[in-house]
Symmetry: C2
Subunit: 187 residues, 2 copies
DNA sequence: AATTTATCTAAACGTTCGTTTAGTTATTTG
DNA sequence: CAAATAACTAAACGAACGTTTAGATAAATT
């Protein structure tokens, strides 16, 4: 046969993901990706088809990366406290990664909200929908909450997570902690 | 002499502003601006220098557009209620404009946060700083709040406004109203 | 060791971007 | 009415984008 790939696809996807995460889709050029991933354009195209394909693969990689946090959230039995903990975990895991900014899914959701790329929008909507369902599930653990309150609080928390993601791009860790604390004060 | 301009600069800046508002800076091309403003590229460049200059003029135009709302907020004497009202006013004036999305300043702040364009970043930071100062001023009207609480609540509200701006891009008016209501519940 | 073939490098592709320039049109002034 | 000149149209600019292709390289098989 012939020579083998000199790179591991999972490794270079991780690097691509970090770059997309930091800059967004449009602002990340193939040239930047080449440099960050440490492989040639040809290799990128032969492995992932095109820039769009690489981005989808990066999103998939991101989801497996946050799956542990999501699973912990799913398995929680403490209602609102689980949601709050989930917010903390999301922020912490993002800060741990390095210089990343906010939540890749939320960032992508914002960047593509005016875009005609239905494939990506659908994936983001589905991700957000799952999150909302989980939040509702946790809120419903408090039997004293009527259905209307649950829905309103779920929307509130989803939007708060939006704010949180935006905040993670410019605010300090302490400000973000304070923000989460305030957000859950009245639930 | 010679012929006069067949367009009013303020009129075309307003149209440019709306397009920037809807799509952001990068995603708005000169070709789109030509079409939306109804004048030729040459005219745009002779009036505003370049795309960057046109954007700065659009931001200036936006600020005069929201100055009434801001002044009303500034002159309020009802503390937290003024802030809440300001949030409502901001959203309503944005919805009134048409298909615009969120707050142009916040959108710009987000789009340029990773950018090296210090001029625009400084202008956004200054705008945000003024807003924060006003919020602090209103919060301090409640004498029972200590300094630490005021700062924390101000940060919380600024981030909430971030979330609000992001929300305005994808949520319904009712959801946004509910979000504001929830946001102020615990202040 | 020779042959095969997938992976590599690097240059070029067509498009679109923001910007500029040459040439035409129209209005104001003498 | 004619000359002057600013505003117009439209074409072209170089640079950067995502993508493709041609040719060199190197490892696995015979």
């Amino acid at each position: 046969m012939a020579r083998k790939k000199q790179y591991n696809e999972d490794d270079v996807v991780e690097k691509a993901m970090n770059l997309f995460w930091k800059n967004g889709y449009e602002a990340t050029s193939m040239q930047m990706l080449e440099k960050e991933m440490g492989i040639n354009k040809f290799s990128i195209y032969s492995s992932f088809g095109n820039k769009h394909g690489l981005f989808l693969e990066s999103l998939k990689h991101y989801k497996t990366k946050v799956s542990a946090t999501l699973l912990k959230f799913k398995n929680g039995t403490n209602g609102v406290e689980d949601i709050k903990q989930f917010f903390h975990d999301s922020i912490n895991s993002n800060f741990k990664v390095g210089n990343q900014k906010g939540c890749l899914v939320t960032n992508t959701y914002n960047e593509f909200s005016e875009n005609e790329d239905q494939l990506i929008k659908d994936e983001m909507t589905s991700f957000m929908g799952n999150l909302k369902a989980l939040i509702i599930e946790k809120l419903q653990m408090d039997a004293s909450k009527d259905e209307d309150t649950v829905i309103k609080q779920a929307n509130y928390l989803l939007l708060a997570k939006h704010g949180l993601a935006a905040a993670a791009r410019v605010n300090t860790a302490q400000e973000i902690e304070d923000y989460i604390e305030m957000t859950f004060k009245n639930l």
